[in-house]
């Protein structure tokens, strides 16, 4: 099979318009004859469900949470980018496109990224009309702020809760369609398999998390909007329930997996405090505007920070990157923080943290100004750590935050399985090897509100009205497989809990498929992941039954899939013999220790094909051609 990204011809600014003009349409009267399944109710899923139902399609929506409103988009803090140029500071669709493609270290598709930038402006209009209470100026117009990786002010925000407000807007649009009878919501349902009939996605198999009932749902098309798989690292800023199961089952049914090893590690999170740690909390990137990052010059210096004199401190980001200082991009900051901690210069009880110090800013601007800017973050920090960051420096450490990799999709957001679409973080499409701040919300909503409503029609128009019955043998076979998998998990009755094994997997991934990677480390990781998987299936302990609410069984199924996905991530990281964005291979660095891309050999999307449990996956390459921008070496010195 050869990959066809279906990128439209023509100048970049006309591609999407031309494409829309040529997509096939389903007439208004015929739309009600089509059923569409949407899995996941974050920004991408909720916006898609609402928009498709508005068009007249019958939509069924599934989420594992007790309410669709709790999907993890809710937790996004900072904001959403849009090329409105309200600030008159020279922003444009072109600039947003350029910043995003450069920020992704030239590993994303130009046409997709341009379309994203183009649609960004419509998203803001839509959200405001829904009643999203964005920050405003005294004159009543919308306010903006700056974010990393950009020289213009184009980020729209609703205090530190932009994701919450945008999601509640999308959910309200979806709720309206529920009210009108066009959307049916199935909360506390987990998708456990994809059903493919004659090469087309025809439905899903779900487990009702309250009763354990395994049930099939048939449809004309299936949309996955299930988010990222940061939890493969056990500790991440993701919600505890975020998982890869839906996309992993789709992968095993034939959907190719794009760039699985591209995972973003955010530099400023609250450090781990002990072995019991269940998740990590992000501290907004904006803190690096006024906080200075430092560690003691001496190894193992255990003095409290206020007793370490100025000349014995190493402000290592300012020292190494005088031009950008503390505001270097996420990947660069994370790598340098890890480096100083590995040298034994980390601080705090575990030594796995650096200081983010506001004392100079407080001296310069006064405590009031700092409180106005970051009050809620300081409060959150104190709630979690019990420390007052106005008096003692914050301690921060990088944490897994976002996954750029995901199911491979073409320009229509369709996977390699016809009829299966992937939206938002669960596809690989727009962020290349590194995502810029305030771009995730933009992508989720662009996919759901403004792309899928057009592209799905093109598929359905050709498909015809006939639906495959949920009694079809393919559904029965999938149901049987799901039931057997559950029975197997419950029958092992070994010695180790799911969390113990998951924690161990997370450590392997963090150590070898994390901020810094090497061929030796990745080979070692592959062995460890396989051993751990073997141990899981021999020695895991899952209690309770499959006919009730059973969180330990749910977790076990998700971790079983993480144990397979982890291997694919390591394989992908091992094959990519270059450094780009978040993917830093020690063998490939410049003399100054920065990421060294190899455009000649690796300017492609790695799309992996599943070939069975005992076969290695097959690599397919989608070559990336840069017609409109010229890839350059990123420099922040």
């Amino acid at each position: 099979m050869t990959l066809n990204a279906k990128i439209p011809e023509g100048p970049i600014e006309e591609k999407w318009t031309n494409h829309k003009n040529h997509l096939k349409l389903v007439s208004p009267a015929n739309k009600r004859k089509f059923d569409i399944i949407v899995v996941g109710t974050g920004l991408a899923g909720a916006s898609a469900a609402a928009s498709l139902a508005e068009l007249g399609y019958n939509v069924k929506v599934f989420c594992f949470q007790d309410s669709p409103r709790r999907a993890h988009s809710i937790a996004a803090q900072g904001g959403i980018n849009a090329a409105k140029n309200y600030q008159n500071d020279g922003d444009s669709v072109w600039r947003l496109f350029y910043d995003t493609i450069k920020g992704g270290d030239y590993r994303a598709r130009e046409a997709n990224v341009y379309r994203l930038a183009e649609l960004s402006v419509n998203i803001i209009d839509q959200a405001v009309a829904q009643g999203v209470p964005f920050a405003r100026e005294y004159g009543g117009l919308l306010a903006n702020r700056s974010f990393g990786g950009a020289q213009v002010s184009r980020t729209f925000y609703a205090r530190g809760q932009t994701g919450q407000q945008l999601l509640l807007g999308a959910i309200s649009a979806m709720n309206r369609q529920v009210d009108l009878g066009k959307v049916e919501v199935y909360p506390r349902h987990e998708m456990l398999d994809l059903v493919v009939v004659d090469g087309r996605a025809r439905g899903i198999v779900t487990r009702n998390l309250l009763t354990g009932e395994i049930r099939s749902f048939s449809a004309h098309a299936v949309i996955l909007a299930t988010g990222g798989y940061g939890n493969v690292y056990y500790l991440s800023t993701n919600a505890k329930g975020s998982n890869a199961t839906a996309i992993w089952r789709a992968y095993k049914r034939g959907a190719f997996f794009g760039n699985p090893c591209f995972s973003q590690i955010h530099p400023t999170c609250i450090p781990v405090s002990g072995h019991y740690q269940s998740k990590l909390t992000l501290m907004s990137e904006s803190l690096r505007n006024d906080g200075r990052v430092w560690v003691p010059k001496k190894k193992g210096d255990r003095r409290p920070p206020n007793e370490i004199p100025e000349e014995e401190r190493d402000y290592f980001l300012e020292r190494k990157y005088p031009a950008f200082g503390n505001l270097v991009p996420r990947d660069v900051a994370s790598r340098n923080i890890k480096e100083v901690c590995d040298e034994g210069r980390g601080v705090g009880p575990t030594g796995m943290a650096v200081y983010l110090d506001f004392s100079d800013a407080i001296k310069r601007l006064g405590r009031d100004v700092i409180e106005q800017r970051y009050g809620n973050l300081f409060e959150m920090y104190e709630r979690i750590t019990g420390e007052n960051a106005y008096e003692t420096p914050m301690r921060i450490y990088p944490a897994v935050h976002y996954i750029m990799g995901g199911l491979w999709v073409d320009y229509n957001l369709m996977t390699t399985i016809p009829g299966l679409f992937a939206l938002g973080e669960c596809n690989f499409s727009d962020h290349g090897a590194n995502r810029l701040g305030a771009s995730a919300l933009m992508q989720g909503l662009a996919d759901g509100y403004f792309i899928i409503p057009y592209t799905i029609g093109d598929y359905l128009a050709e498909l015809g009205f006939e639906k495959v019955d949920a009694e079809h043998p393919a559904f029965k076979e999938a149901e049987k497989g799901v039931k057997e998998g559950i029975k197997r998990l419950l029958s092992i009755n070994g010695q180790r809990t799911v969390d113990e094994i998951h924690r161990e997997l997370g450590k392997v991934m963090w150590d070898y498929v994390g901020i810094v990677r090497s061929a030796d480390g990745l080979n070692k990781a592959l062995g460890m992941i396989r051993d751990l998987r073997e141990e899981f299936w021999r020695n895991v302990k899952v209690v309770g039954s499959d006919e009730e609410l059973n969180a330990s069984l749910e977790k076990a199924g998700r971790v079983a899939d993480f144990l397979e996905l982890a291997e694919l991530m390591a394989i992908d990281a091992l094959h990519r013999n270059e450094s780009c964005g978040c993917h830093f291979r020690v063998e490939y660095q410049t003399e100054e220790g920065e990421a060294k891309r190899d455009d000649e050999h690796f300017a492609y999307v790695a799309a992996w094909e599943y070939r069975g449990p005992d076969e290695p996956p097959r690599l397919h390459k989608e070559e990336l051609s840069f017609e409109f921008v010229t890839p350059t070496q990123r420099s922040y010195k």
């Binding site: 709790r70 009309a129 004159g139 330990s552």
Partner: protein, 249 residues
């Protein structure tokens, strides 16, 4: 620290529940409350016993999934804090902690500490939105919104739908939850067109779900993890009255 936990255990909605006492040891003051329960559950699983079921997801105070009644208070002793953001440093070695699910007739217990809050979603679906199709929105800056109105709307819109207001209220009233949505949309120009219909429908749905009436104890505001003000209830009452008077019903 070592703690005694008295936890409500209930197999399902039909079964009778009871308190079960557990001991947990070596709890770190830096743990979150849910991490402390994770430790208990890991122990239970190792012993082959059924772990305690509780809802949780983001663990950063924004998804609204978690919600435990801790020592007689919704989300525990700390003001403006969800259960997942409550840390064990607020308890002392040797303490006994009583943990219950939300108690309200419209929130039936599903299992242990997990309750069914779908009534809240049904209220929002009864008109708790602005009718605007994708693609038909005007330019975002074409309608200025006074900053004060936008800020106040935000304060209301910050509701996480956890249900603590209902759990804290002696009448199991959902007035603060409903008012937060009514007020959020009524404060914005975009919400004006449907505001009468909206408040009438949402209040009717709230009553249908069996939530109690408001008797102004303000327990909801005191326990709301997002500290949403009861002034929104006053606004909703005004909106409701105005809608009733003009609807002709």
């Amino acid at each position: 620290m070592d703690l005694t936990l008295k936890i409500w255990r209930q197999k399902d909605a039909q079964s009778e529940g009871r308190f079960v006492t557990y001991q947990v040891k070596d709890i770190s003051p830096d743990m979150s409350f849910l991490e402390m329960l994770d430790v208990l559950n890991e122990d239970l699983i190792r012993k082959g016993e059924d772990p305690v079921a509780f809802d949780h997801d983001c663990r950063e105070g924004i998804c609204g999934a978690c919600g435990l009644y801790i020592n007689g208070r919704a989300h525990g002793p700390l003001k403006g804090t969800t259960t997942c953001q409550l840390h064990m440093r607020h308890f002392r070695d040797g303490d006994t902690i009583v943990i219950e699910p939300w108690r309200a007739a419209p929130f039936p217990v599903i299992k242990d500490l997990v309750v069914d809050r779908s009534a809240l979603d049904r209220i929002l679906r009864a008109g708790g939105y602005i009718s605007v199709n994708t693609g038909s929105a005007p330019e975002a800056n074409s309608i200025p919104v006074p900053k004060e109105a936008a800020d106040e709307a935000f304060d209301a819109a910050t509701c996480i739908g956890c249900g603590a207001c209902v759990a804290a209220c002696k009448n199991a009233s959902a007035m603060l939850f409903v008012a937060a949505k009514v007020s959020h949309l009524a404060l914005l120009p975009q919400g004006q067109v449907e505001k009468r219909q909206r408040v009438l429908r949402m209040v009717a749905q709230m009553d249908e779900e069996g939530f109690g009436n408001c008797t102004n104890t303000y327990a909801c505001e005191a326990e709301c993890p997002k500290e949403i003000s009861v002034s929104h209830i006053a606004r909703m009452n005004r909106e409701y009255l105005a809608a009733l008077l003009t609807s002709g019903k």
